[in-house]
Structures are given as structure tokens and as C-alpha cells.
Symmetry: C2
Subunit: 221 residues, 2 copies
């Protein structure tokens, strides 16, 4: 039984990888920088993305977002308040986004008109790690409320991420957040990864994050 | 492709359900109350369970715990500090516990000597919902830091839970936790579910929770 499952899983992943490769080529030729945001439920992906979309638009960038959830379009409505085009992907029980879902939900969008496309994955620290969505940059988010050992306990995500964001730093103190240990653990799993410490509420860390986005975008030109 | 996946998934679930039924019978005949704790990574399952084990032992109850994580035995070490027998289940990439893993890790334990057995699932709001572990009571945990709409976005877990625990209530205020909305959303998905509001740090809510455990235990006699 185990062997058959593993074989089938590899088949699914192979198909996903092929679709993701196609997406990546489309994104590259359109000149849009695509980011895939992954975290636990409740880390604050939506709040952080909402702020990012708003700040980028205020700086004249053209942005859009796809957001995955099992159910509800709460997040799409929250993100749309930024003024950016946003589409909700409801997975109805599937615990991650797949390349095929991304392809479908891009229909009708002119990618060449965009500077940045953000994909907010389903809240899950495990399954999204295995599914390439054609993104250029995978971002792992971790909040100060979650415990500093998450990178050690969920190594696959952190190991496959290009950047890490520690969210909700405005409440680091009441949460007893141990910053040194968190940084050490992230670096242990993914040495040298770029780490941001941010708060969507206060705006702390947003300048560094926006500078990183601009730098990554210009690298692609 | 989709059909084959669904069929195989149902095959896995059917096999799991059969094993879970066997476990449930074993637990019942041994007279041990078994609880399955499910939440996001970082909700505070381990801290809450650590406190529960310690408080139950202080009241003379015989308790044990199984704890699931992809990697590390951090949680087992934390829980073992309570003095209770604890075993770590490392799933190595699998995003939930399965009945077969529970069966294997019970070897050598005399279930009839236990009053309560707690199973701390892998941190994940999606996949554990589909896997019966033979538990009597499924507990969904949600922290004040995670956002009040989680029950709406992850209905399968809350819909299949027997009790809900709102954790970290000591930091409700700095997190801007909206208690009324959280309670409303939980009740919308699972009307009448028993809800506890607790803090492993301050001990708030523990008396009610321990009373509930004792009541459920006595019902089984």
C-alpha cells in the first residue's frame, strides 16, 4: 500500500512540476515577479500581504494577488480593499495550492501589465512545501506567537524558502518571543536566508521588505 | 487522474477507519479516555497539554501522551517534564497522524492502567480532520493570535470536534482578540459545542477544563 501511495504521489508531483515549469516561463517572459507566501493558519499572511499591496501601489507598482483557502472568500475581500485585483481560490478540502489552480485563476489577466503577483497559499506548514507554483520567490512566514522551534519542526518549508518573515513583531514582548533563538533556528535550517522582522499593524520592517522586492524585481529585468 | 486520487484516498481512509475502530474498542475495554488534540502549528497545544498532564497528575489521575511531529522530539521532551509517560511519533513528512501510527506506539503500554491518554496531532488545521485515531473526544484548539475566522475557513476540523479550546487568553488584549466573533464563528460551524477559554501560562480556564475531563471520564464508566 505504502509503495503505491508513494508512486502516485510522485506522479502528482511530477505533473505539478511540469505545470509549474510552464507557469514560470510565462511569468518570466511577462516580466512579473511572482511570490508564494506560506505559513501556518493565523500567522498573519493576509494582513501582511494587504499592507504590502497597499504600500507597493502607493509607490506606483502594479500588483495583483491570488489567495487560497479551503472555504470562504474572506481573504480576497480583505485584500481587494487595497485596490489591487485579487482572486480567491477555494480548494474545498485540499490543503495546499497546486500549479493547475494557479493557471486556471490567471485567465483573463494580462500578466505583462503587472510588476508583482503574490500568491497567498492555504494556511499549512507542511503540504504547500511540496507544490511548486512557478513562483520566483518562496516566502516562509512565522509569527512571534508561534514558538521559536517551528523551523526545526517543519524543515521542508524553511529549507525550500528564499526569504523568511517574522510577523507580528509589535506583540513580541507580551508573547515572550525569543528573537535570538528564532533567528538561530531559521539559519540552522536555511543558512544565510534573508530574514525580515515586520508588523503589518505598525509598519515596522516594511521599508526593508519593499526594498528587497524592488531589488528582486530589478534583478529580473 | 483526479478520480484515481480520490479512489486511492478513500482506500487509505477506509483502512484507517478500520484500524481506528479497533483502537476505539481497545480504549473502551481498557477504560481509558482518549483525546485527540488538533490545531495549527503554534496554537500552543504542547503548552496546554503540558499543563493538563501536570494538573491531572496532581489530582491523582494516571495519564499518558503520544505526540506527533514531522521531525524532532522537542515536544515529547517538554511533555515528559510533567512526569507522565510520553512517546514521540515522527511522521517524517506526513502531515497528520494515522491510526496505524497510534497502534504501533502503544506497544508495551498497559492501557488499563491509564485514566487518560492524550494524542497531540501534527500542527495542521486541514489533514488531521480526515483521520480518526480511535479517540473518544476530538479537541480543536485555536489561539487568540490566529484570527477569529479560522472556524469558517477550516470547517472540517471544527465540524468534527467535540470540544474547542481558545488558548493564550492571557494575551487576548494585545492581540486585539474579538471574543464575541470567535464564539459566534465556532458556534456557526458546530452549534452547541463545548468551548473553553484557557491560558497554560496563567492557568485561567483550567478548572473548567479539568471538570469537563472528569465528567467525560465518569460517563464512560
Amino acid at each position: 500500500m505504502t509503495t503505491r501511495i508513494v508512486e502516485l504521489r510522485q506522479g502528482i508531483l511530477k505533473k505539478n512540476d511540469e505545470l509549474a515549469r510552464g507557469l514560470r516561463l510565462r511569468f518570466q517572459s511577462a516580466g512579473v515577479l511572482v511570490l508564494n507566501l506560506v505559513s501556518s493558519p493565523g500567522t498573519g499572511k493576509t494582513a501582511f500581504l494587504e499592507r504590502t499591496l497597499r504600500d507597493l501601489r502607493a509607490n506606483g507598482a502594479k500588483v495583483a494577488a491570488l489567495v487560497g483557502d479551503l472555504e470562504t472568500d474572506n481573504d480576497a475581500r480583505r485584500l481587494a480593499a487595497s485596490g489591487a485585483p485579487v482572486r480567491q481560490i477555494n480548494t474545498h478540502g485540499i490543503c495546499h495550492l497546486e500549479a493547475e489552480m494557479i493557471g486556471k485563476h490567471l485567465e483573463g489577466w494580462e500578466l505583462a501589465d503587472l510588476d508583482y503577483l503574490f500568491i497567498e497559499n492555504v494556511g499549512n506548514l507542511v503540504c504547500p512545501s511540496s507544490y511548486d507554483l512557478g513562483e520566483k520567490i518562496r516566502v516562509a512566514l512565522l509569527s512571534v506567537t508561534e514558538g521559536e522551534d517551528k523551523p526545526l519542526k517543519y524543515p521542508t518549508l524553511f529549507n525550500s524558502a528564499d526569504a523568511a518573515i517574522i510577523t507580528k513583531i509589535d506583540i513580541a514582548e507580551p508573547c515572550g518571543f525569543d528573537r535570538a533563538t528564532a533567528l538561530k533556528n531559521i539559519n540552522e535550517i536555511r543558512p544565510g536566508i534573508r530574514i525580515f522582522e515586520a508588523s503589518a499593524k505598525t509598519g515596522a520592517g516594511m521599508v526593508d521588505w519593499l526594498a528587497y522586492l524592488a531589488e528582486q524585481k530589478s534583478r529580473r529585468a
